[in-house]
């Protein structure tokens, strides 16, 4: 476990990497809210951004390039539970009437596969060419509060400390973020437990609350860039009742979380129960398939792969998402350290909920529920934590 001093270093890092564009946030948040209509959202087009937002593909809501508002999942809801996801038809025309799907913004900021460099032999010379950083800026439409927290966590992972990741930095810098406050809670959501939602409080340029389904949005400003955008749109001041309506929607969402986790002391709970019999129980069910780590918006692990062609003239190095559930992940000379699935599941869950604090000064879980929903056998870390708590070997111990 790290000492207090080391944790304050993490905090210093946080300040160093904080995005100056988000500094005006508190001031902006205190100001009067405004109302825009759906057409106003189209204004981001033509501002030089690659617009990424939620859209329906293969019976799920994924994040992809969107061209117009028509690409958003209008009138679509979702049903989520352990190992279960279905789209549903809402009885209104809401644009954001669902929660997070199988993908997260991680796929754009930290792509699944990324070439790092290429090398070519030309005569006696070896020419090495680093992969150029991405130039086009993203605008994220519809990021949820838990996702903003996940991005902030990955900021600490990739940009904090002595070695910043240039690819992440290039993709992350100047992302324009339109956040959406959640109007419904998903069947596996527990952001309230993790203190990461459902209302966006940080990390956005503007935030919307859909107060009349599909047509009317209460707007909050997070940055100067957000204000500039709002100024360019037709908008009017929100009435007191509209502001109250937005608050009521969020209160309702907060009260209807599909899952909950006692997060206050889960770090210590897991740390003192590394030999709890529950790890054997979950290992019997776990497929070590890696899905939970792939869909988790904070998991950042990668593996580096080299490739050479048949002629021996060209080679390249790339990195791709990896997972602590694979044998290769813990392979060192002579074999893999984490042979048992038990040790791998324990690594995942203790990293998310316990050792992440030691490493990065916060929880590694934002309560989005993806790992529960997209686990083929519906393993639920909130349930596992509860089971461990119920027979905590050293109740009250520190």
């Amino acid at each position: 476990m790290r000492t207090e001093t080391q944790r304050s270093v993490v905090r210093d890092n946080d300040e160093r990497i904080s995005n100056p564009r988000f500094e005006t946030m508190d001031k902006g948040m205190a100001e009067a809210r405004s109302i825009v209509d759906a057409a106003g959202l189209e204004a981001l087009r033509g501002q030089g951004y690659a617009l990424i937002g939620p859209t329906v593909r293969d019976e799920a809501i994924v994040y992809d390039e969107i061209a117009t508002l028509d690409d958003l999942p209008r009138g679509v809801g979702d049903e989520q539970d352990g190992g279960h996801y279905r789209l549903t038809r809402r009885n209104d025309e809401a644009l954001f009437g669902y929660v997070v799907g199988p993908q997260s913004w991680k796929k754009l900021l930290h792509p699944p596969v990324l070439r790092l460099w290429r090398a070519r032999r030309e005569g006696d010379e070896l020419r090495v060419e680093a992969e150029p950083a991405r130039v086009e800026k993203f605008a994220f439409i519809g990021a949820r509060s838990c996702e903003l927290h996940a991005i902030a966590i990955q900021d600490r992972v990739f940009l904090g400390g002595a070695y910043a990741d240039p690819h992440y930095r290039a993709r992350r810098e100047d992302v324009f973020i339109v956040a959406v406050n959640c109007g419904v809670a998903g069947g596996a959501c527990f952001c309230v437990s993790m203190d990461t939602g459902p209302k966006a409080t940080m990390g956005f340029d503007i935030a919307l609350t859909e107060i009349v389904a599909g047509s009317s949005f209460l707007v909050e400003i997070g940055t100067d860039a957000g204000r500039a955008l709002l100024d360019s749109l037709p908008h009017r001041a929100a009435s007191a009742s509209e502001t109250e309506e937005a608050e009521a929607i969020l209160a309702h969402t907060a009260e209807n979380m599909g899952r909950s986790l006692e997060a206050g002391d889960v770090r210590e709970l897991l740390a003192r129960n590394l030999d709890h019999p529950r790890w054997d129980d979950v290992a019997a069910r776990c497929l070590a398939c890696t899905n939970c780590t792939m869909v988790c918006p904070t998991c950042f692990c990668t593996s580096v792969e080299d490739a050479s062609d048949l002629t021996g003239l060209e080679s390249e190095r790339s990195r791709r998402w990896d997972s602590c559930f694979t044998l290769d992940f813990s392979y060192i000379h002579g074999g893999s350290v984490r042979q048992s699935v038990k040790s791998r599941y324990r690594q995942w869950m203790t990293h998310k909920l316990s050792t992440w604090y030691d490493q990065f000064g916060s929880s590694g879980c934002v309560g989005c529920g993806r790992c529960i929903v997209w686990c083929p056998v519906g393993i639920d870390l909130t349930e596992e934590a509860r089971a461990i708590r119920e027979s905590d070997a050293q109740k009250g111990a520190t």
Binding site: D309, D328, V377
Partner: protein
């Protein structure tokens, strides 16, 4: 390297051998149109009955072996192939696990033969179909029914460069997620063997909205009983569960054991 057909004088000699199989994996090599010239330049293709008529002679630096052992003659021939090969790589489900013809291992071959052939006494066959590794030392096993041609090129490139091939043994799910696929099991309720199946195909079937059939065989640490519980909640009965593991890799240990658990 430029020009056509100019091989380095010391090019390693490649042989492709066929045992009991459908030829699909060998054809994957012929199917590498874009890379075939480079393969032909980097290697001396000394024995490849599908592509050349060169006779068997001498030794080979790299032998690709397709097919399983199903006859007494093949059981002897594989010993000869091993003796002639510096490196021996098996390609495809037949060579690595016995293939679909290993279904005979669950039945009585004599009975089959008497139904199929007019003169079953002409048939000299073994009671089982077994992978090459049951008979000789294998240096590397490439999975798939058929193999993935990108992986085949990777194995040959790695052999030429003297490095380890990048053919990870984790689940199909990891590749499925790298591709950004929506999980067909979670989102559609379609049974999928991806979680217990060895990666390599690039999650081909789920990319086309179908469940994985397990054609690459078991992944590194398969937990088939847990997956079966899930498949049964998706509506598969005992018979269906037995059959789902009993296809291209029926003889692979984890799949065989799981199919036997669902024997009626």
């Amino acid at each position: 390297m430029s020009g056509q057909g100019h091989r380095t004088p010391s090019a390693p000699r490649l042989a492709v051998w066929k045992f009991a199989s459908c030829d699909g994996c060998q054809l994957s090599l012929l199917d590498c149109e874009d890379e075939l010239l480079a393969v032909a330049q980097a290697l001396d293709i000394a024995y490849f009955p599908e592509a050349t008529r060169a006779p068997i002679r001498g030794n080979y630096d790299l032998s690709l072996v397709e097919g399983s052992i199903t006859t007494p003659h093949d059981a002897e021939r594989i010993q000869d192939v091993r003796r002639r090969s510096r490196a021996l790589v098996t390609i495809g489900a037949c060579a690595t696990s016995g293939g679909v013809q290993a279904l005979r291992n669950f039945a009585n071959v004599c009975e089959y033969a008497s139904i199929v052939y007019a003169r079953p006494d002409y048939i000299h066959t073994l009671a089982t179909s077994t992978p090459i590794s049951d008979h000789v030392k294998v240096d590397f096993e490439l999975r798939g029914c058929p193999i993935d041609k990108g992986q085949l090129i990777e194995v040959i490139s790695a052999f030429l460069a003297g490095r380890k091939p990048a053919t990870p043994s984790h689940s199909v799910c990891l590749q499925c997620k790298l591709k950004g696929n929506v999980c067909v099991m979670v989102a559609h309720g379609t049974p999928c063997l991806g979680p217990v199946t060895h990666a390599g195909c690039g999650a081909l079937c789920p990319s086309y909205d179908r469940g994985c059939y397990g054609c690459f065989g078991p992944m590194e640490t398969p937990n088939a009983p847990s997956l079966s519980a899930r498949l049964s909640s998706l509506g598969m009965d005992e018979r269906a569960l037995q059959r789902v593991y009993r296809t291209f890799n029926a003889q692979a240990e984890a799949f065989r054991e799981e199919s036997e658990r669902h024997d009626e």
